[in-house]
Amino acid sequence: MKGLIKAEVRRLVKRRITRLMAVLLVLGLGAIAVAFTVGSQKVGPAQVAAAEAEAQRQYEESLRWHEQMVADCEAAKARGEDITQRFPPDCGNEPGYAPQREQFDASWNLPYEFHFREQFGVFISIFAGIVALFGFIVGASYVGAEWHTGGMMNLLLWRPRRLSVLFTKLGVLLGGVLAVTVVLGALWTAAFWFIGRYDGQTGKMTQGAWESFALSGARGAGLVLAVTAVAFGLASLGRHTAMALGVAVGVGVVSEIGMRIALGIAEIRFADRWVLSTYALAWFEKRWELQDWRACNISFSGQCEPDMFVVTWQQSALVFGVGTAAVLAAAIWLMRSRDIT
């Protein structure tokens, strides 16, 4: 058994697609981190003062334009021209028509400042999404190419216990993807913490805040592993990498586009309930609210509140868990029973 694990780890690491995808993954994540390093700027008194000065300048410029317009209008009126077409009524002399200083908020002129505590949660989702894509491609091609090129058959001549071969491969794959997720996830967190520390704000990082990020990270890692396992299962079922890619594209099109359109036409309430990405969002956000604006519930304050449908992360776990289990069960069943020719 140890020998088989060692061989599979070596095979996974030796594959060109694994290496290529790993390089692309690191480059992609690195590019995002660099973009935020460059794009985020710490806001101090100097930046606030500059923003105030800029707001003041914009106010004054706008005021000059206004006065110019009033002057033009008065002149035209004196010449007896029709001014109603080109100018506001009363040549803009009405009170409140002139620009007001408080309409120019200095905060609009502040540079982007990354706030670790408030914003890093979104970056965990982005990270998980990108790593899941990596897991999908590597997982599908790892077993798909192995079937397709006859490598699996060769291996079964050495290791006739089919299920132990399949489970070893799956285990090695998930272990490898998890290791990549953990290592890159740590680097990702460190990178954004440093961006917050030196180019933005970290906010008050209490233990609770860290725990919340850790839980989000764990949910992200769970999704990465589920996606990887599904890719592996599909490619093994179809004995081809393309099987997994095809199903992914098919499900994507049917669920995200087809279902939306069909349910929209049928005017089904909460149509997004039937769309997979809703569950991905709920998984990351812990809960996701769908609203039906056609319904009107009068609230205490007399406003119209839409009907709401809440998708929780537990429901997402159920949907993704059952889907993953079904694909793996089918792959296992077929692995046991199929003729390998």
Binding site: K2, G3, A7, M153, N154, L157, R159, D339
Partner: protein, 331 residues
């Protein structure tokens, strides 16, 4: 060699009544094996002969656990398979049909990964590469190999375990004449070292030269088996060509032999006698009637004609024989 080989005539491979029907939704059912039997004894080089589509590859795949049979029993090295396949797999090296490998790995990597998976020492990799003549190309990607080189790599992968039983499905495919000869020498050498070799082929000259015994399969059934010489003798019908000192005596000699219980074919210049145990019996019987034999020779046949006769695949002028078009011959 650290392995202890079983000496004596023990069956290394036994198949009884093996049946396999392929089912596919579109083409329906196809019966590939129909009660096939086969026995291979230890230390032999055994030829497994049959025309295309007769079920050779199906038999080997079934034996190696890649395909589930519909019936019959099989044993390798005394262990029932597929039930106990995992305990014998380490002692059986095999290539099945045209060997395929992951094209982007080198021969070295491919074998090294198999060695890890099968818990064989890595040093064995260099040994087998040397043995099949791939040493100098071992670091190149399999994608760049010719068919013959892939075939050599396949043999190397089968030899990696230093198996007691080596199963090769059409190993001469894609090899050049030099390669075929090398393969033949290699098999002799392996067999001399005690390995049992099963060799499927439709190339008969090949098999006749190196095999001790053969099994001939046609339409999923065994039609002949045994040592090569025996199979040849059986299917030459034990025929003897008899010439007399004077050709005028041929017809009276024929009557004498028929009266004594032989079957005789009267030809212009000789008799073709069948159904006799020993050629010497002909001489004795005729001499008793003062008819003197000038020449007595067993009819020679080669494996090819036996094969064509048994599998009913001899070419007929003006016809294009289709695969699967074999004649049923009772075993």
């Amino acid at each position: 060699m650290h392995t202890q080989y079983v000496v004596g005539v023990t069956a290394v491979l036994e198949i009884e009544g093996l049946r396999k029907t392929y089912r596919s939704r579109r083409k329906g059912a196809r019966r590939a094996l129909d009660g096939f039997d086969m026995v291979v004894e230890a230390g032999q080089v055994h030829g497994f002969l049959g025309p295309n589509g007769s079920g050779k590859t199906t038999t080997l795949r079934t034996l190696l656990g890649l395909i589930r049979p519909n019936g019959g029993r099989m044993a390798i090295l005394g262990e029932e398979v597929p039930a106990r396949l995992s305990s014998v797999a380490g002692r059986v090296g095999a290539i099945v049909e045209s060997p395929q490998f992951f094209p982007h790995f080198s021969a070295q990597d491919t074998l090294s990964l198999l060695a890890d998976a099968g818990e064989v020492p890595q040093a064995r990799v260099a040994e087998v590469l040397e043995l099949v003549g791939l040493r100098d190309r071992a670091k190149e990607r399999v994608k760049t190999y010719s068919l013959g080189m892939k075939q050599r790599l396949a043999v190397a992968s089968a030899l990696l375990k230093n198996p007691q039983l080596l199963i090769l499905d059409e190993p001469a495919n894609g090899l050049d004449p030099g390669g075929i000869r090398e393969m033949r020498d290699l098999m002799r050498q392996l067999s001399a070292s005690g390995m049992t070799v099963v060799l499927s082929s439709h190339i008969l000259g090949e098999v006749q030269q190196i095999c001790d015994s053969v099994t001939i399969i046609s339409l999923g059934r065994r039609v002949a088996s045994g040592p090569v010489a025996e199979v040849l003798a059986q299917h030459s019908g034990g025929g003897v060509v008899v010439r007399l000192e004077s050709a005028g005596d041929l017809s009276s000699a024929a009557q004498v032999l028929v009266a004594a219980g032989a079957r005789v074919d009267l030809k212009p210049d000789h008799l073709l006698v069948t159904g006799v145990d020993k050629p010497a019996w002909v001489t004795r019987t005729l001499a008793g009637r003062e008819l003197y034999v000038s020449e007595l020779a067993p009819v020679t046949v080669d494996l090819e004609s036996v094969f064509l006769e048994l599998t009913g695949t001899a070419p007929v002028a003006g016809q294009h024989r289709q695969v699967d078009q074999s004649v049923e011959v009772p075993a």
